[in-house]
């Protein structure tokens, strides 16, 4: 009884509101707008779907506001703020005074999905091809039966073949829930051409009698699932390979600097992880500068961070070498202890300068999201960029070590220090520069790490063991060895993780490495040639 009177007053109110509506606004049905703020999600969703089917641009604006949490409800009125003023969501009329108590309309996942469907449906008739394309893509994952008629209409009007194909898919998806068996069969038929895991997921329930009474549809669905699965299989294997390569590239970036300081110079540098941290904090610092001074170019801060991180880490590295490490050459145990102490000093310094909490380093827009190479193979941009960056750093190092005078000196000094000194190589300065180079490369690794993991004072600790693993496995003194070791470790770890989970995979990898080192202490590649061993 009260329910009815309530609805009646609601309608009366809406009628009144319609009368006073500001003509500039194409008014929406106020009762329907009020429904958006209902307590019951089902009622909310019914209203959203009606708006979605209305093809009214004003409805689109309203739903957008709701999705952005801008719709508020107070005094039984749905409104939103236009600057300081409150405007009725249905009519656009000013509300004076602004209701004292109000809250935003709760939008949970279910409602958000309905909203994005409705918004996409409204955009299907947009004049801009790009807008229509995104809308059609949006409807690929969870189009319900209620959008089917709109999709049918859109298909009739659509001239672009790419969008047309997407719409056909979406229309078929929506029709999977159609009570008419013939419509479902047609839908399954269309979907058997698909190559997406999501579609397969939607077809799978149709294999069971409980969900699908019609035997022909069941058979067609089983056939379709088989076809889709064969298309997905290649993509999944390639995806696994890629995750392995990506982990390998990160291991390599973390270990490359160490390959110089430990591999070539023989310094057991326990503070290596902290040099990665310096690089990551340098990235954070550059980001902060860009935020403050060049907000328009914020997306490109990472490019500027690359040289800054290199020189910051190199400077810290050279400072460590000049003050501490050079006094300890040839005394590995003391070096180990001293660099361990230095690592603690650096961690505390970071804590004092930047706080104990992790700092936020944002992915630039061009590194967010992923690209779908083929069915079942989505490659995240940040991983692709990091693999590319690793190649760049590797090339840079190769050129430095093989083609420059400094590289020649470094190789000469590590092969035979007294002889190099005799022919006039300033061994002291070369040591400092080589250590700086290793540290700088570690700084570059820090830039890459800042994009995929936490930037905090302790971040380096997690990479020190992995870095030593790569260098020792690859063969001390060998850059090529480090490359193969990192890639091998990455791919093996990823395949093991797929079978046994991350915890067991970590253990198995360590056991494999221990056995390998016992059988072949010199690592994958051993240095050949005449050396002066002391």
């Amino acid at each position: 009884m009260t329910e009815i009177t309530h609805t009646m007053t609601r309608y009366l109110l809406s009628l009144l509101l319609c009368l006073f509506a500001v003509p500039a606004f194409a008014a929406l049905d106020p009762a329907l707008v009020r429904q958006l703020a209902d307590e019951d999600s089902d009622i909310k969703i019914a209203a959203i779907q009606q708006f979605g089917a209305s093809a009214d641009p004003e409805a689109g604006r309203l739903l957008k506001a709701m999705a952005d949490d801008e719709l508020l409800v107070g005094d039984d009125t749905v409104f939103r703020f236009d600057g300081e003023q409150a405007r009725d969501a249905a009519s656009g009329a000013l509300i004076e005074p602004v209701p004292e108590a109000y809250e935003s309309i709760t939008v949970n996942n279910r409602i958000r999905a309905a909203l994005s469907n409705a918004l996409a449906a409204l955009k299907l008739f947009d004049a801009d091809r790009g807008v229509r394309l995104t809308a059609a893509k949006e409807l690929q994952s969870n189009a319900g039966l209620e959008v089917a008629p709109i999709l049918a209409r859109a298909m009739d009007k659509e001239s672009d073949s790419e969008i047309q194909a997407l719409l056909r898919q979406a229309h078929a998806l929506a029709n999977l829930g159609n009570p008419d068996a013939a419509a479902r069969l047609a839908a399954v038929d269309v979907l058997s051409d698909s190559a997406s895991a999501a579609t397969r997921g939607l077809l799978l329930p149709l294999l069971e009698t409980a969900n699908e009474p019609d035997a022909t549809v069941r058979a067609a669905a089983a056939q379709a699932v088989k076809e889709i699965e064969s298309r997905l299989a290649i993509g999944e294997t390639l995806a696994k390979m890629f995750t392995g390569i990506s982990l390998g590239s990160i291991l390599l970036l973390a270990a490359l600097g160490l390959a110089i300081t430990y591999g070539v110079m023989g310094v057991i540098n326990m503070a290596h992880g902290e040099l990665l941290m310096v690089g990551a904090y340098a990235t954070f610092f550059v980001q902060t500068l860009f935020r403050a001074w060049l907000p328009d170019y914020l997306d490109w801060y990472l490019l500027a961070a690359v040289p800054v991180a290199f020189f910051a880490a190199a400077l810290v590295g050279m400072l460590l070498e000049r003050t501490v490490i050079r006094r300890l050459y040839g005394r590995p145990l003391e070096t180990l202890l001293a660099t361990w102490g230095l690592s603690l000093v650096l961690i505390q310094a970071a804590r004092v300068l930047f706080g104990a909490q992790n700092v936020e380093v944002a992915n630039p827009v061009w590194m967010s999201g992923g690209v779908e190479i083929m069915a079942g193979l989505v490659l995240p941009w940040n991983r692709i960029v990091i693999v590319g960056f690793t190649l760049f750093v590797l090339a840079l190092m190769w050129v430095l070590m093989q083609k420059t005078r400094l590289g020649l000196f470094v190789r000469a000094v590590t092969q035979n220090r007294p002889m190099a000194g005799c022919v006039g190589v300033p061994t002291g300065r070369v040591d400092t520069l080589a250590f700086g180079l290793g540290a700088g490369i570690a700084g570059l690794g820090g830039v890459a790490l800042s994009q995929i993991t936490n930037v905090g004072p302790d971040m380096g600790q997690g990479y020190i063991v992995d870095s030593f693993l790569v260098v020792v496995l690859g063969g001390v003194g060998q850059l090529a060895g480090a490359v193969w070791a990192a890639l091998g470790l990455g791919i093996v770890t990823k395949f093991l993780e797929g079978w046994w989970g991350a915890v067991i995979a970590k253990i198995v990898v360590l056991v494999i490495v221990i056995i390998f080192i016992q059988k072949r202490p010199q690592g994958l590649f051993a240095l050949k040639g005449r050396f002066v061993e002391n």
Binding site: N108, R110, G355, P380, W381, D458, V503
Partner: protein, 422 residues
């Protein structure tokens, strides 16, 4: 003459010094010592530093309003450095050397287990402010965080409901240690009681500090693509959450397809993440910063002012979260209990704690249970918004009584709901 003057002066100064000393010691007797045992360095510093600040802020607030029974509180802060054995050592120092009357501290379950024997032996008093796995009830501890039935179970029930997406398949994902393992044991039993088959539950663990979640996300994607609505329950702890959520966003797993509900992710943990792709993923707590009521507004303002006054790092962006609220409630309840018992004696305070109430920033009156040393707390489920705050989408009608012995673990029905008295 000179000598006499000198002796006079010396006597005078000694007398003065003595007087000063007595007045000093008198002053010392006028304060009540309170221990704060949170990691300020090491891996847990990220979460626990904020709790130390909250405790100091609350003590400052109490002192400004006259202290406890006319005495000022004096905080003794120690740093157990995320090192579990060091927790035991530092708590022994607090109890027997500094002679504190109460300790507020610990975050991880393993640190709590480490200090327990010390508190039992020396009959100390510990307030533990973090949600945990239950399966424990000690006379010397008051638990102001949530037990599983105040967080985990309601969250899973919500995901099973229509509004939560009617999930039928479950991924239980966690860090490899006691809290996630026990919680997932409880959840598995609970899901089975609701008719979920073993084949529809996937359990995965990662080491502490794990940062490469590619494989796990790929596995979840595959598991979710098998025809039934899937939800992920995450008990990942600490800063591993940042790479996990980053990967989730990049892999394009949207909350409307596969919702992730987390039990150890709050406002503080999301500060380092771009939350735009994470919109709609969930967390279950007994408090969110976004809850609107006068107590919470006061609490948030107090913490912001505290951060500014003490020049905390990033003071302009500090947030409040559930364990901070639990710390705040704990200290106030202890104050009330001391005033009721008219003594700081541990046994008297424990007796006086029963039935204490406090108007909490969550907007509800939190009550200390008469028997089981846990708080009655409301449960909230929030969805991540684009600004890193949570939008409450579900809440209990009122506070829920804690059940530290989960009925979903066999044998627990025989356990008593009261701590053994010795």
């Amino acid at each position: 003459m000179h000598r006499r003057n000198f002796i006079k002066a010396a006597t005078l100064s000694v007398a003065l010094a003595a007087a000063g000393l007595t007045s000093l010691s008198a002053l010392a007797a006028d304060t009540i010592k309170v221990g704060i045992l949170h990691s300020l360095s090491g891996t847990m510093a990220i979460s626990e530093t904020a709790l130390k600040e909250t405790a100091l802020m609350t003590i400052d607030e109490i002192n400004k309003s006259g202290g406890v029974m006319g005495k000022k509180l004096e905080a003794v802060v120690v740093d157990p450095a995320s090192n579990w054995p060091l927790f035991a050592e530092k708590s022994r120092q607090l109890l027997s050397k500094d002679k504190v009357d109460v300790v507020f501290g610990c975050w991880t379950s393993v640190s709590r287990k480490s200090v327990l024997p010390v508190f039992k032996e020396l009959n100390g008093l510990l307030f533990y402010p973090v949600q945990y796995e239950g399966e424990e009830l000690e006379k010397n501890v008051f638990y102001t965080g949530a037990a599983p039935n105040q967080q985990a179970i309601p969250a899973v029930e919500y995901l099973m409901s229509k509004d939560g997406g009617s999930a039928k398949r479950w991924v239980l994902l966690g860090t490899d240690y006691v809290y996630p393992r026990t919680t997932n044991k409880i959840l598995r039993a609970f899901l089975k009681s609701k008719g979920v088959a073993d084949a529809d539950i996937m359990e995965e663990y990662t080491p502490f500090g794990h940062s490469d979640y590619q494989t796990i996300i790929a596995k979840i994607k595959k598991f979710a693509g098998e025809g039934k609505k899937t939800a992920v329950v995450s008990t990942i702890n600490g800063d591993s959450n940042v790479p996990f959520y980053k990967e989730l966003g990049n892999a394009g797993l949207k909350a409307s397809d596969v919702p992730v509900v987390a039990f150890s992710v709050g406002e503080e943990e999301l500060r380092g993440v771009d939350t735009k792709p994470l919109q709609g993923h969930l967390a279950a707590w007994n408090y969110f910063q976004s809850i609107k009521n006068p107590e919470n507004a006061k609490f948030i303002k107090m913490y912001r002012d505290w951060a500014k006054k003490n020049k905390l790092p990033n003071a302009d962006t500090v947030v409040t979260n559930d364990p901070m609220e639990a710390t705040y409630i704990g200290i106030h309840m202890w104050k009330q209990a001391v005033e009721k018992a008219k003594s700081t004696d541990v046994d008297k305070v424990i007796a006086a704690m029963a039935g204490q109430t406090f108007k909490a920033p969550s907007g509800f009156v939190a009550k200390m249970d008469e028997k089981n040393h846990h708080l009655h707390k409301p449960v909230f489920i929030g969805e991540v918004k684009s600004d890193g705050q949570f939008n409450v989408v579900w809440k209990t009608k009122g506070p829920v009584r804690a059940a530290p012995w989960s009925p979903y673990i066999p044998g627990n029905d025989k356990k008593k709901d009261v701590p053994d008295s010795k």
